[in-house]
């Protein structure tokens, strides 16, 4: 018996109006319940792929399905299953923490009682209680990141997409967040994570895909990336067309 993938992407191509082709002929699958690491250098097409999945970017050609539902034709049904924590803060910076989380629940059709219970729970869960009435612009970088994560989770999505969620956060929050994400994954949520911290990918993910130049250049179970000396770092650099010794020499 085959299971319907949480994400199924076939021959995705994304060309911007400027003519830049950010993603070309990208195909990949993320299985339900997976903790999927999506690696690649800056400008490789990670965020563009995520934007195509979530509807922030239009798809030039190709197919994207979320749990079997076409993300373009049936976008409303598909988006109900996705929670996104974007790389850049995309909020009304004058709104309060509570408003930001509550409004997102509203956009997803949650009634007032549902929004209240989820918002209260997430604000408590992310230690934001004493900041709940503060505007987003008053918060520190780490607190802002927590708000974005709480917002992504408010509608209890089956698929969580995290685009560099620990960029710029302190060690304590990063460790807490890792533990929380592992709990969510253990409860059955599918998680797609992009990060530049290989340690993070290594610790959390079960499957890894590497993207370079808008194409998937390597994909497989995490264990496959550790069959050679040098582990994930070496495998990643080789997949993206770099040699680990060259990078080390350049850095020296």
């Amino acid at each position: 018996m085959t299971t319907t993938p949480a994400i199924n992407i076939e021959h995705l191509r994304k060309a911007y109006r400027t003519g830049t082709v950010a993603v070309q002929d990208l195909s990949m699958q993320v299985q339900p319940g997976d903790f999927f690491g999506f690696l690649g250098p800056n400008g490789a097409g990670k965020s563009t792929t995520i934007h195509c999945i979530t509807g922030i970017a239009t798809v030039t050609s190709g197919k994207i399905e979320i749990f079997g539902i076409d993300a373009v034709k049936n976008y409303r049904e598909a988006r109900r299953m996705i929670g996104l924590s974007p790389q850049e803060f995309n909020v009304d910076t004058f709104a309060t923490v509570t408003q930001i989380v509550d409004w997102m629940g509203g956009y997803f059709g949650m009634n007032a009682a549902q929004r209240k219970s989820r918002t209260d729970m997430l604000i408590q869960r992310f230690d934001l209680t004493q900041h709940a009435k503060k505007s987003f612009r008053e918060l520190s970088g780490g607190l802002k990141r927590r708000v974005i994560l709480a917002r992504a989770l408010v509608h209890d999505p089956k698929l969580l997409i995290l685009d560099e969620p620990t960029a710029g956060v302190d060690v304590e929050l990063r460790l807490d967040l890792w533990r929380y994400l592992q709990e969510l994954n253990a409860e059955g949520k599918t998680i797609l994570l992009t990060s530049h911290y290989l340690e993070e990918i290594e610790r959390l993910c079960k499957t890894i895909a590497v993207i370079a130049g808008g194409k998937i250049v390597r994909q497989g179970p995490k264990e496959d990336f550790f069959t050679v000396p040098g582990g994930l770092e070496k495998a990643y650099l080789e997949a993206t067309g770099h040699r680990a010794d060259h990078v080390a020499a350049g850095a020296a």
């Binding site: 049904e77 995309n90 956009y107 230690d127």
Partner: protein
């Protein structure tokens, strides 16, 4: 972080084509909250501006002008002043709400949510109408304080307030999707809306114009808006019958179709 108290959200499945009423309501709630962060700019400024217009042109200057169509000049001027402020309120509300969403990127919150284009447009327009109506009520009260109390047809009055709000709300959305900076955002207002609205009959009748300028008045859509509102308030109408309604419905259809098209292709919204 604290340990989780597991509360799961059960969101009722939405059948295809159903309206996301809660999502629509949330767009309006969010905009209401945003407008109330700047009440002076949103409401007090147009009321004070209207007060000055009515005081100077209606009361001071108008005291030396003969009656027009059996009405005091202040009663004649009030619909025009009202329309100037309705146009401004609607245009500013819709441009600011869409442009700030793009500028701060929180338009992405609605793009990733199960909201249709129509819901996003209706949400924006509803708040535009609300702001225009609140502005209009305040100016009506100011007009009443100066003795301008006529209301010939309240339904026609409501029609023109709502129709003009929709027209300039849609125009504001289109401009906000196109603009890439604050300068571009104000261009339509400076070069189109302000000049045409002032020559659209705020302070004068068409019969006061020289013959060669009359055709310009009839070619100016603002004339029909001001004339329609004036007819609803004091029963003074210079337009051919139903032409004003035709202009209003025609503009709503054209601008509505254009706005829907821009949303459906993601122009200015999606990457």
């Amino acid at each position: 972080m604290s340990d989780e108290t597991n509360v799961t959200a059960t969101i009722a499945p939405m059948p295809p084509m159903a309206i996301n009423w809660i999502g629509l309501g949330t767009i309006i709630r969010r905009e209401w909250s945003r407008v109330w962060r700047v009440p002076v700019q949103a409401f007090l400024a147009p009321w004070i501006s209207a007060l000055m217009f009515i005081f100077i042109f209606g009361f001071v200057v108008g005291g030396n002008i003969r009656h027009i169509a059996g009405h005091r000049y202040v009663e004649f001027v009030l619909p025009g002043v009202l329309m100037l402020n309705i146009v401004n309120a609607a245009f500013l509300q819709s441009t600011s709400q869409i442009y700030f969403q793009r500028f701060l990127r929180y338009i992405e919150e609605t793009l990733v949510a199960p909201l249709s284009y129509i819901e996003m447009i209706i949400g924006s327009l509803t708040m535009t109408i609300v702001r225009a109506v609140v502005t209009a009520v305040g100016i009506l009260l100011i007009g009443m304080a100066f003795g301008a109390t006529h209301m010939n047809n309240v339904f026609e009055f409501i029609f023109w307030i709502v129709a003009v709000s929709i027209i300039f709300g849609l125009l504001g959305i289109i401009i906000a999707l196109w603009a890439n900076n604050f300068e571009q955002l104000t261009m339509l207002n400076v070069f189109f809306i302000a000049p045409l609205s002032f020559v659209g009959g705020v302070f004068n009748t068409v019969s006061m114009l020289p013959p060669w300028l009359k055709w310009l008045a009839y070619a100016n859509p603002f004339f029909y808006f001001i004339n329609g509102l004036r007819d609803s308030m004091i029963g003074f109408d210079e337009s051919p019958p139903f032409l004003g309604y035709g202009v209003a419905f025609g503009l709503i259809a054209v601008l509505g179709g254009w706005t829907w098209r821009l949303f459906s292709i993601g122009y200015g919204l999606r990457e």
